[in-house]
């Protein structure tokens, strides 16, 4: 018996297709601008810093720090009822960009701002994985 995953799945766009394909392989890649050298997230067709279109995908270290977080208690929609409480968070990647994500692998009350975290992939449905973050083992 398979239970249908009813929560939102990633919706790949022309900008994010390579990103989500890498995620499916459990590879964490982020865009980097070859002109100014900055990494950025979310993926775009040009660099949000210098507007260059000379971009590349690079393998990110997967390491970061919690910038802020919230233990979400209220299921805003019925399909989130069995997900609460979950930790929604903003993580600052080692490379610089900040991304929205979840903190997993620990109790919600253990999450702290500035806590070092590392990426871990979660398969939402077969072939579709999203990067989440767990407390760093270091």
């Amino acid at each position: 018996m398979t239970t249908e995953y009813k929560r939102p799945l990633p919706l790949p766009t022309t900008d994010t297709k390579p990103y989500w394909e890498a995620c499916a392989r459990h590879e964490f890649i982020i865009p980097r601008c070859r002109s100014c050298g900055k990494h950025f997230f979310y993926p775009r067709s040009l660099c949000p810093n210098c507007m260059s279109t000379d971009l590349e995908w690079v393998k990110a270290s997967g390491r970061g720090k919690v910038y802020s977080f919230s233990v979400v208690q209220h299921p805003f929609r019925p399909e989130w009822k069995d997900a609460v409480p979950y930790v929604a968070a903003l993580v600052d990647l080692e490379e610089g960009p900040r991304m929205s994500t979840n903190i997993v692998g620990c109790k919600p009350e253990e999450v702290k701002i500035d806590m070092p975290v590392e990426v871990v992939f979660e398969d939402l449905v077969p072939g579709v994985a999203v990067p989440k973050f767990k407390p760093s083992s270091r």
Binding site: V72, Q73, H74
Partner: protein, 382 residues
């Protein structure tokens, strides 16, 4: 160049708020406009500019053209604008600029929707929605989750407490109790807020705004024309705006929103400072939103917002009454339109039971998205 004292708000309209089942948005918008024109002593024939906040729930192609047609108007200019809750002040400054440039003379600005009955019809849950394609997978599916990021960060950086945020909710509720057209009219205490269930920590239910049906509108015209109309004009002394991002992950600093940049500009244009503000209608989607704007508008220092809102300072009778209508937290969520309406009402002296004595200068702010967009006006009695 400056719009200062060149334009005035001469009419305001406000529909019943809360739940208006069976009312399509256009009927709500039309009613708000009818009331505002009536208040101004003008008619649909006088209007040569119509600006409308874009509909959120059921967007419609060229909606404002449908609206002016519905109202029997043939304006020179029309547009929908959507900067979220920053739209009403944005519409005011746009109308002011168009009028000042001689491109039109009488502008109506409107917001009206049936978000409460629409949302409930669709989902059975009453919280506003944030739809972002890669944030949704992580459960950032409603505004409270994203605003909680700012609240948690503010607590971390400055030691702001849940009780201090709660004091803001208590003040808004106190004011709503004096407003017959408010949804929540039972007084609450700080303890009530702290005991209300968690939505997205550190935000409790009572730290979060309502979801409402209702609408409001205002009429802007030249200072000259204003002087010949039936009510005391309310001049726009200053306006400012600063946009910073869309999604919370892209905010340059969630505890230092665009308001910090807009505030000095609106004060400079108006030629006033924080001490001159008699009443402040501050966009209050969440308690943290108010706290951060109080700091940004230099009513207190950065990080001191928590202490500033303690002890009734922002309540009627206090040093700086905030949201005398009850705000989004306790009156209704009309996207900040009723903050403009209330600001005008206060400066005219029409506040009734919730009138701030001798209110001459009002600050009105708008905020959209997740502290993403920010606008403000300073209004003065004519």
């Amino acid at each position: 160049m400056s719009i200062k004292n060149k334009v005035a708000i001469v009419g305001i309209g406000e529909t019943k708020v809360g739940k208006l089942p069976g009312r399509d948005p256009i009927t709500i918008q039309a009613e708000a406009i009818r009331l505002a024109l009536e208040d101004a002593g003008l008619t649909n024939k006088d209007v040569d500019c119509l600006l409308a906040k874009g509909l959120m729930d059921e967007p419609e192609f060229m909606q404002s053209t449908h609206l002016f047609e519905y109202l029997g108007m043939h304006p020179k200019i029309t547009s929908c604008m959507d900067a979220g809750g920053a739209s009403p002040c944005l519409m005011a400054m746009t109308a002011a600029s168009l009028i000042n440039a001689g491109l039109c003379e009488v502008a109506v600005c409107v917001e009206g929707e049936n978000d409460a009955t629409f949302v409930r019809r669709q989902e059975g849950v009453g919280m506003s929605r944030v739809s972002e394609e890669s944030e949704n997978v992580y459960g950032f599916i409603a505004a409270p989750v994203s605003y909680a990021m700012a609240a948690r960060r503010h607590m971390h950086e400055f030691g702001t407490t849940g009780e201090q945020l709660a004091a803001i909710a208590v003040a808004m509720r106190k004011h709503a109790c004096l407003n017959e057209n408010a949804t929540m009219r039972t007084p609450i205490t700080i303890e009530d807020v702290m005991n209300s269930r968690w939505i997205a920590e550190p935000l409790h239910l009572l730290d979060c705004c309502l979801v409402s049906d209702g609408g409001g509108a205002f009429v802007v015209t030249t200072a000259e024309r204003a002087r010949n109309l039936k009510k005391r004009p309310v001049y726009i002394l200053g306006a400012a705006a600063q946009m910073t991002h869309n999604r919370i992950s892209q905010s340059p600093n969630p505890t230092h929103p665009g308001a910090w940049d807009a505030a000095p500009r609106v004060y400079e244009m108006a030629g006033v400072g924080p001490k001159d503000i008699d009443v402040a209608e501050i966009y209050d989607c969440f308690t943290i939103t108010v706290l951060e704007q109080l700091e940004a508008y230099r009513f207190c220092g950065r990080g001191e917002g928590g202490r500033f809102v303690e002890g009734g300072r922002i309540e009627l009778g206090g040093e700086l009454p905030v949201n005398t209508h009850g705000g989004l937290l306790s009156q209704a969520h009309i996207d900040g339109m009723l903050h403009v309406v209330e600001g005008v009402r206060q400066v005219r002296g029409e506040g009734g039971a919730r009138q701030v004595p001798n209110a001459e200068i009002a600050l009105v702010t708008g905020n959209g998205g997740i502290l993403s967009t920010h606008t403000s006006l300073i209004l003065a009695r004519g």
